[in-house]
Symmetry: D2
Subunit: 276 residues, 4 copies
């Protein structure tokens, strides 16, 4: 048609090759969404599990995602630096991953919030950031996880002061003003006999999704696992150095950890396939 010229106004947004692609999604005004659905403070396990499950559906669909990290209302996805998915078109990558995550979040709501109906559809913003070298990418992951630690320690102390300590939010904020990590740990221990270290790892560290192998029915299966390792420690990156490798013949490390719901979900699907 004579109107087709308008397609020429689309622009080429191909990303620089050989660069790590990070897509980070973040819930819009999630504070309100959390309040409207009476999320437990400061961490709601059902909400975190739903975030993880939505991210897991994204990893299932896009094999170029090597690693993923989520906390609070955000999730980051790392695509291999030699990825040619959608010819590295930025909007294509960003929107399909964001849309998949968003629609999964609503689709699986009831799986985690059994008796709490979703009142309205939430929405997540997204952005793509490129990291040229492994060090920058690793620092990005550490940055996001350091953010959990800082926030969770504050929030845990804050809400404990309010819910157990009977302080008002204003008083709690004042109490915490000027404190450092050690002080907060001290408050929790001295005043509430709480050892912050005993907090669930998912609260303290967020969740990492990565691909590993598992021996299942005598066969090595590639699965997606959810773990709560400390990425700020070198140990994680030494053990998992293969994640960032782009060799074709690379093999996933063997998984040695508990069978989580996400892992069970995959094993049972393998079972179903066998039966079918």
């Amino acid at each position: 048609s004579s109107f087709e010229y308008v397609k020429k106004f689309e622009h080429d947004d191909s990303l620089l090759p050989n660069t790590w692609i990070v897509i980070r999604l973040d819930g819009k005004c999630f504070h309100k969404f959390a309040d409207d659905h009476n999320f437990t403070k400061p961490n709601d396990l059902r909400a975190l599990k739903l975030m993880n499950y939505a991210a897991y559906t994204v990893l299932k669909e896009y094999s170029d995602i090597l690693l993923s990290f989520g906390q609070s209302d955000e999730y980051s996805f790392v695509l291999r630096k030699d990825s040619c998915l959608y010819k590295r078109r930025s909007a294509k990558l960003l929107t399909t991953i964001n849309s998949k995550f968003s629609s999964s979040y609503v689709f699986y709501w009831n799986k985690f919030f059994e008796h709490l109906p979703l009142k309205y559809p939430p929405c997540f913003d997204g952005r793509i950031v490129l990291y040229p070298c492994d060090e920058n990418l690793i620092d990005y992951m550490k940055w996001r996880q350091a953010d959990v630690h800082i926030n969770n320690l504050y929030n845990t102390t804050f809400w404990t002061l309010i819910l157990k300590g009977q302080l008002t939010p204003v008083q709690a904020e004042k109490r915490l003003s000027g404190t450092v990590s050690a002080d907060k740990n001290e408050i929790l221990f001295q005043e509430f006999n709480m050892n912050y270290n005993n907090e669930p790892e998912i609260f303290k560290r967020g969740t990492i999704l990565l691909r590993k192998s598992l021996l299942h029915n005598k066969v090595n299966k590639s699965i997606i696992v959810d773990v709560h390792d400390d990425m700020l420690k070198d140990k994680f990156w030494k053990e998992n150095i293969y994640i960032l490798s782009v060799k074709k013949s690379k093999q996933n490390l063997m998984y040695k950890g508990p069978t989580t719901e996400i892992i069970e979900d995959q094993l049972s699907k393998y079972e179903n396939h066998l039966e079918a």
Copy 2:
């Protein structure tokens, strides 16, 4: 933290000012999604209504969207050219609108597909395109609507040949090869006594969502209306010239058409607000 430097790798993707912003979403592999959910061919009214409703929730949230057009598995949103929403940051605009549409699509599925469960969460890609002048924008809308006409006439004839004419898809394709619009109209009329002009307008023209005023309980309310006008005719643009106006004091035209479900939805919400 010492990792915060990674935030500097984010880039400024602000859009050129004073330019029409068009966001177009399109279902990914929707052919398969439609088959998996047994959509009526070639048009499934439930599916189209759900698309319209999801788009309507987007227009409710973002007042800078002046005009919207949907057909098949796509929806286009036009933001006013002087919009400063999210400081015209491209990824922010694109992802929040795409995410809202995607999560709404899943959230309202049951409202339109009452007895058909959603099997898995669909996803929609998205892109932003800028149009510098009104003429380019109008041609964009015409381009999308011309696409409906061409596709729908083909699909209607194709599926009629198959479902009523007992042809196989291969035979139907062959039959239609080399035909022009007049031929297809002829096939429908001569062989199946069908007048293509009598097809529902939503099938022939897609759906336009725009903001108009309605006198309701003696008060002028601003509402979002869904219509199926022919944008390829000058008449539409003359009547609706105000849509593209960016004057602060502009007024919406009065709506003079049937009360659709989307309009009823807004009127009843106004009622509820009065009662509450």
Copy 3:
């Protein structure tokens, strides 16, 4: 060769279609360059003529440049909004025009600074800016010319206070601090019997280069003319409305003004062509 993959790291920087393309060049550290070459203060006619001549060589080469404006150490070039020069590749347009201007500036130095050798090669930065509509483009031209007026009135008064009024720069700056245009005009008139309006137009208004027609040897020739009109007045844009027109068959207005050196330069070249 196996290294050719590196070419894929180049990116597509095509500019949005149907948008005015403005390229603005500005001398780097030209204050120092002007001092090192003892430019007359505040305006050096030789320097301004050289800037104009360098810009003229650029207009001769690129017919897609419809309009050009220069002042001080800067020059702006306006390419037609439907230009497909270099397929609207941004770096290609910007660098070839900047390079041509820069090399011409050095090449023609002696033509204007006859007895003053160029001490070192100057350099000019450059940028491309897009303007979606005619109004934005016209406002851009007005912005640049308003800048001349403000600066020149200040500079003229400043240097007069110093060179004729025997003030030091610090004293002159203090004297002018807080003054408005009327005050500066007053100082020039009252204290130095200077009527600012009588300053040469090239100093007050900068230089506009545009294409017009001239009857020469009974034939209409298309030439580039240098004028010093006031673009802040509607009169200029009404008379020259054709400049922004993109019609193929458009005709340049007839030129009715003095024969400048730049015009003479073209007429004599036409003569040479006839003889040869």
Copy 4:
């Protein structure tokens, strides 16, 4: 002024951090420029020296350029990957370096083409390309140098066939059609008793400019040297690994080679400084 809003149409073109920045300039229609100035075929030493000198003036001015390579009518400049020059604004970097090169080329023409006047100012296009890792950057340099080798062997054989072998260009092209490097070497040797390996290195390999140290008057001076090493060999990169290092305290390697005109130019300027 009320027109200042037009400045907001400028866009942020900051380059991704921690990435090698390559700026490549290339003469526009240099084939014609070379013919118009009777450049020796296939290599004109005066022209190549002028290119090198213009590039040298650019390296003198911008200390963030670590390495530079030129051949034929092109020059590439590599900026350190942690460069913050002009806050990594793409157009600023590209245009100032291109303009400096272009104006220097004209300014120093007479230094190399003593009795041949420059007929008109040449111009050079330019582009910026980012390379995320050292390997990509090294491959870029190898790509440009492999290009010299391929082209020079062809051109040398081609023009020898014409100038010494009395072939026409068409005959020479035909003769070389389908030949590989070994064949061309053979032609030169067998038919013209020419050993291609004995061709001047500047013709076979182009020119590399880098920063080294030289002991001069008992003091270590940092200088820019022009060499013709083979970057396709690992030897070059092993010796010069420091070039790509971004350590603050890095030291340039000591230079051990002949005193070229470019080196002499710097030593005499050091002398002049001492005397002054």
